[in-house]
Symmetry: C2
Subunit: 123 residues, 2 copies
């Protein structure tokens, strides 16, 4: 989703510890894994290397008590991957938090938006 001025985008990172955080990139990766059944396809769709996508999955699997993604690293077909129940729950909680924040603070975002300069050709 591209930000535009009429629809500001919220990027929310919940930081539990130095290497323990949940943010928009991980959430999108989980969503795309659920949709494609593949860690590499999910990463590719986000312009991410295979290695990077795997590393994010490993970070999440270590971060939570129950792994969020199950996968078979597999030969020619590249294996398959899906979200565990815990993974669906993590994703759902994160998306729900985004929605709550947006609902609760929407008027404040609008007030900030109203203060923006009129330039529209900025890149």
């Amino acid at each position: 989703m591209q930000p535009d001025r009429s629809h500001p985008l919220l990027k929310i990172r919940i930081v539990f510890g130095d290497d323990e955080m949940m943010g928009p990139g991980k959430a999108e990766l989980l969503e795309r894994i659920a949709a494609t059944g593949s860690i590499s396809a999910a990463g590719r769709a986000m312009g991410m290397s295979y290695k990077r996508a795997w590393s994010l999955v490993e970070t999440m699997n270590a971060m939570f008590a129950t792994p969020v993604v199950t996968s078979t690293r597999g030969g020619a077909q590249g294996g398959g991957a899906s979200l565990t129940e815990a993974g669906e729950r993590v994703l759902g909680l994160y998306r729900a938090f985004e929605a709550r924040a947006s609902d609760a603070g929407g008027d404040l975002v609008e007030q900030l938006q109203a203060m923006l300069s009129d330039m529209s050709d900025r890149k």
Copy 2:
């Protein structure tokens, strides 16, 4: 503020356009400029180069219809800087948004937190 597991930290970025965003770094910079009266001192306190701090201030000043920081680039003393009324308002709205998000979604963050693994020696 360091994140720790008992007090997860929210990092919220409000994205209005490609180069128009307000997040925790800019908010802290504004706060420190108000506190120190100096862009370079504010940046230094955040481990930021003089150039980077100025560039962030220029980005914010261009992004909003009214500049958020006024400054005199000045000789030996390094000049002085302070927030304009608009700057105080931007900072206040951003901090209020953070507080609203945290209040509205605190229970969801707690649920995520409860799902973390027990490892405590992770760096």
